[in-house]
Amino acid sequence: MVESAKPSYIGIEGVFYSLTHAPDLVRYGSKPSRELRANTTLEQRLKNQLRSFSAATAYAPHQVYIGNITPAELGNLSKPWYDNLPQGALPKGRFGDIVDQESLYGLLGQADQFNLVTVSERWFWDRMTKPPESKQLRLKSFAEIESLCHKGALPLYSDEKLVGCIEAGHAEDVNLSADVLLENLAAKATAAHALKSLLSALKMDPNHVDFLISCSEEAIGDRYNRGGGNLAKAIAEQVGCENASGSDVKAFCAGPLYAMIHGASLIQSGVCNRVAVVAGGSLAKLGMKFESHLKKGMPILEDVLGSFAVILSAAKTGEPCIRLDSAAFHPVRAGASPQAMAEYLAEKALAKLGMKLTDVDRYAVELHNPEITVPSGSGDVPRTNYLTLAALAVMRGQIKKDQMEDFVRARGMVGYAPTQGHIPSAGVYLGHALDALRNNEIKNALFISKGSLFLGRMTQLSDGCSFLVEKSEK
């Protein structure tokens, strides 16, 4: 990495985080779809533990995600969070929203350009209040939908009733099967919703965005180009960014921070004036830990698709910015241990700015909600990462061993993001970081993401990247 004596700041114009409640799509998550095929008795047990939209909306970690509760406030709330729902919770947040499943089906239909998604005519007119939307949807009778399902289309349910379906895009190509296209369309539709909402909140003309980068994880493509990609351009078109092009940046869960570094670099180099980074929801990860949740008598907490959008442009004096000269990558030679990851993405990254680990006010790591992961034995991911950073600070003599818990408490936070792969990966905290910086609660935050490259069986390596966010100098 190039070391620069002068800070280079890239502005963050805004962020928007969206959750889409999709209880009837949980059955199509990778884990539930496999387990339900093997054990049909699980299906009813799964259905019994699905949450209502109001319960998913009031769930405190979701309220943190959309900006109505801070991570610090969440840490003070009684657990289990799913049994202690805050009163008066709204689906609209300071910088996000929670979308219901009916709206998702409408968004899927709007995002579909190949007449693959069909919605029940009667169901649509009973619920939708915006007649113009019907022009963008393929509406058919219930009998026609049943017939399509008998021919192999994937059924779409609402409260267990058949209300639509999605057909395959090709008779033989497994990369264009109905379940794969549902995953891909869900990513497109949710990312487009997040960006559209952000542009609306900023009162920004979509034509003023030059470039989109999608860090969604879906492998868009056919059998000759599996994962060929450029979902970004499809999202740009969907949102009406007529002057923009786009491309994808993928690195498993590290994708969002790489995408922001790429976007910031396009602006720093003068190639673009304004770049949108977008991430769509991961349908494959719905219900990933549902068996553990069933065993513990918990609701199925992995019932939401996460998405977000960030708009980057030139820095404004005194405003929160990405400090591009702080960007750090995890080199091949570093190996895959968590300690090496912390050394390269925190210690060495800060050292080139003349900073120590204790000079960072807040660390944003992978912020998986522990209420989802602990019951399945996957541990408290953010806490594990914070302890690694604290241990490194002890090893370097920056704090004493008995100060580790203080380090974690003061510079960390509880996890609140759904287990949606790239979504929990640090960038989820950007909205709260902007608030905390503007309110002078913190002077900086280091964002650290990690990617499990070994899952693709091409290397045994892990990966990661990081950058500092702070106000630009006056």
């Binding site: 895959a336 241990s337 992978e366 992961t373 594990t384 990462n385 287990t419 929990p424 990690k450």
Partner: protein, 41 residues
């Protein structure tokens, strides 16, 4: 006691990677028949 035993090593992304476990175990005289690193989130 462990010498010659067969072992499966499953590493974790935020913990100890599979290849590291395998190298330690092989050094202790065990035969690693399968090793992998997984991400459980």
């Amino acid at each position: 006691m462990l010498n010659g035993k067969k072992v499966i090593a499953i590493g974790e992304r935020d913990g100890v990677p599979g290849p590291v476990i395998a190298e330690c175990l092989e050094g202790a005289g065990l035969e690693v028949v399968f090793q992998v690193t997984e991400c459980f989130v």
